[in-house]
């Protein structure tokens, strides 16, 4: 399409997808270079999953154009499928089968002979620390184990481009860090990663560039640094030991950070917005010099809500509505939504156990 399309992993122009009355994706333009991690950030129902599914040839386009690794998703879907892998938002695994059987199945479907598929499956399980769970049914895996197996399933044949749809939603922090390490390793080896996330922190940690999507449109695009400069670096949360010191602390903070300071309901708590470049440590030193005793002090990243506030000037929709949207957006029908909803609850149900299961798996 364009002369440079060889360097591009993904290029879309005016991508549109409608589900009945709802326009889930409303003219999305994306230009994603090969190599690196590209993040698609947005709240529930923003249309992230729909975009990914269109790019992975699972959904037909209702408008616009999309090229993946130089192939048109409409006219050459088979060529696209030969080069990509997709790890869905809800584990793309057969829960009734064991971990090894899942990988052997995927290996055989990609042309490995029976024994080679088995060897490849075992190799992947070992590499992903799932060797001990090879013979266990996936429905008995913890959330983190599932996610790793899911990614392993995408690597049976190393893809040129891998789509990860919310790879860390619903898993515990330790598993999340493991998944992050895996993703970084993939990129180092030359695979392009496109991931969706609801978490600003995740986008910031992983992505080289990102697009922020809301209501089916790209509302901002750039490096995490550029976006943060637009939004501010986050907030400083502070609690003083003595409530009577708070007023003085507020003045010191305001002067040191040249920012507005919010007095919280808690009579000892203060919050100040940090602009990019503002040094929280300066404020802390100033407080110490003034003899104000500080009980707790933390720097928080701006929440996704704050990002959207800064970019759109309005609050994103409430969680309840947005979650409903996402189901329709992701699945194209209420019936599928219901099934996924159940899956999702299942995911959360395992969260608490996940860490224990992990530890258990390790010690065996």
């Amino acid at each position: 399409m364009t002369p440079s399309s060889d360097d591009l992993a993904v290029e879309t122009r005016g991508l549109v997808k409608r589900f009945g009355e709802t326009t889930a994706v409303d003219g999305v333009d994306l230009t994603i270079r090969r190599g690196g991690i590209y993040g698609v950030l947005g709240p529930n129902g923003a249309g992230k999953t729909t975009v990914i599914r269109m790019l992975a040839t699972l959904l037909r386009l209702d408008g616009g154009q999309a090229h993946v690794l130089g192939h048109d998703v409409r006219s050459e879907p088979a060529a696209v499928r030969g080069k990509i892998a997709l790890t869905g938002q809800f584990a793309s695994l057969d829960e009734d089968l064991t971990g090894l059987e899942n990988l052997v199945l995927l290996g055989r479907l990609q042309g490995f002979a029976a024994r080679a598929a088995r060897r490849r499956g075992q190799e992947l399980l070992e590499a992903f620390n799932l060797g001990d769970a090879a013979g266990r049914q996936v429905k008995k895996y913890s959330g983190g184990m599932r996610r790793r197996l899911d990614i392993a399933g995408s690597l049976v044949v190393t893809p040129e481009l891998i789509f990860l749809d919310e790879p860390t939603t619903g898993i515990d922090p330790r598993s999340r860090n493991q998944v992050w390490d895996i993703i970084r390793t993939l990129v180092d080896s030359g695979t392009t990663v496109v991931l969706t996330t609801q978490y600003l922190e995740e986008a910031d940690q992983l992505a080289d560039r990102l697009a922020v999507i809301d209501h089916g449109r790209v509302i901002a695009e750039g490096t995490p640094g550029q976006l943060k400069a637009q939004v501010g670096a986050g907030a400083l949360n502070l609690r003083v030991v003595e409530a009577e010191d708070r007023e003085r602390a507020a003045e010191i903070l305001a002067a040191a950070l040249s920012a507005d300071v919010v007095r919280e309901a808690d009579p000892t708590a203060l919050t100040a917005r940090l602009d990019a470049g503002a040094r929280a440590s300066t404020a802390l030193t100033a407080l110490e010099e003034a003899g104000v005793e500080v009980e707790t002090f933390s720097v928080g990243q701006p929440s996704l809500d704050e990002v959207f506030m800064a970019l759109t000037g309005k609050k994103p929709e409430t969680d309840g509505d947005a979650a409903g949207d996402e189901q329709e957006v992701a699945d194209g029908g209420e019936h599928r939504g219901a099934a996924h909803d159940a899956d999702h609850r299942g995911d959360h149900g395992t969260d608490g156990r996940a860490a224990d299961d992990e530890a258990e798996a390790k010690t065996r």
Binding site: T57, L58, R60, A78, R81, G82, L86, T87, G88, F90, A91, S92, L93, D94, E95, D96, L97, E101, L105, L106, R108, L109, Q110, G111, F112, A127, F128, N129, L155, V157, T158, Q178, W180, D181, I182, R184, T185, L186, D188, S189, T191, E201, G234, A235, S298, V299, G300, Q301, P302, S303, L304, D331, G332, G333, E334, H335, R336, A339, H340, D343
Partner: protein, 292 residues
């Protein structure tokens, strides 16, 4: 979500291992052919039977129930009409000879319905997204599922024949006749299954698929020559029963069981089979490709 940053991330040995298996993976294998892919999906169906044997309930208990129930409830009276004997014990014996081939066909035909219901449930799961994103001949997923179901049909068929044998069924055609009947029935079931995959893909929920399937299934199996000769039925019903492919199938199976191999009825059943696949196979695939 505002969290404090924790930048402590050590490089675990796992990372090294993953890097290694990625780099070592140079030669991508050839894509599998249609047959190989279908067989792989069939293998998946068998694995599911291994891990979830409860799903065999419909092909084990249900056939036993049908055979015993239908024979002893209707046997005495219908058997008398069919055989011309006095109502009662002898009539039941005569009816067994006539009914078992019919029940054999009916039960397997009814079980084909579950193929569609399983598919409907399966498709709403995440794993189908992955299957659909693979560079594999797409109908393989459906063909493979239907191939896996042949195992279920075979199991059900064996159970019915064993129960029938215990109840006194002694086919004149002997083992060759029974095997021929079995084979014909499996072919017909495979072809009929495409109707249920179409229904399953068109319906939004499993319940809806079940409802529609039953709506088709009841007249298909009951308004036929399975339980009673069509001659006893009033005009329009009789016309329907005689045009019903299941009647043709059952007629052919009864002939096989009696040791009669009639080219005309064999051809008729095979034509029905071909028509079912030619119509419903492409419709299934079309809907399947459009399903999101």
């Amino acid at each position: 979500m505002s969290t404090t940053t924790n930048g402590t991330s050590t490089v675990p040995p796992e990372t090294e291992r993953i890097r290694h298996i990625l780099v070592s993976r140079q030669d991508t294998p050839q894509r599998p052919g249609a047959v190989s892919a279908s067989l792989t999906y069939g293998w998946r169906a068998l694995l599911k039977i291994k891990h979830v044997p409860e799903q065999l309930f419909d092909v084990t208990i249900f056939p036993i129930m049908m055979t015993v129930m239908m024979t002893y409830v209707f046997g005495g009276s219908i058997g008398a009409a069919v055989s011309g004997q006095e109502a009662g014990g002898d009539a039941v014996d005569a009816y067994v000879q006539w009914l078992i081939p019919g029940i054999f066909a009916q039960t397997l035909v009814m079980i084909t319905m579950y193929t569609g219901l399983t598919l409907n449930r399966d498709i709403s799961k995440g794993v189908f997204d992955r299957f659909r994103s693979l560079p594999v001949w797409r109908p393989a997923q459906l063909v493979g599922a239907l191939l896996g179901d042949q195992v279920r049909y075979t199991l059900a068929g064996v159970i019915i024949l064993v129960v029938g044998f215990i109840m006194g069924f002694r086919p004149a055609g002997g083992l060759p006749g029974v095997l021929a009947a079995f084979l014909m029935l499996l072919v017909f079931s495979f072809c009929l299954s495409w109707v249920w995959t179409t229904v399953a893909l068109l319906m939004r929920t499993e319940q809806a698929a079940m409802g529609v399937s039953m709506f088709i299934m009841m007249p298909l199996t009951f308004v036929s020559n399975i339980f009673a000769p069509t001659e006893s039925m009033p005009g329009p019903v009789r016309a329907f029963a005689e045009a019903n492919p299941v009647s043709t199938l059952v007629g052919c199976i009864r002939q096989f069981m009696d040791g009669v191999y009639d080219v005309g009825s064999i051809t008729a059943v095979l034509i029905y089979c071909a028509v079912l696949v030619v119509i419903f196979g492409p419709i299934s695939m079309f809907v399947y490709n459009r399903t999101s």
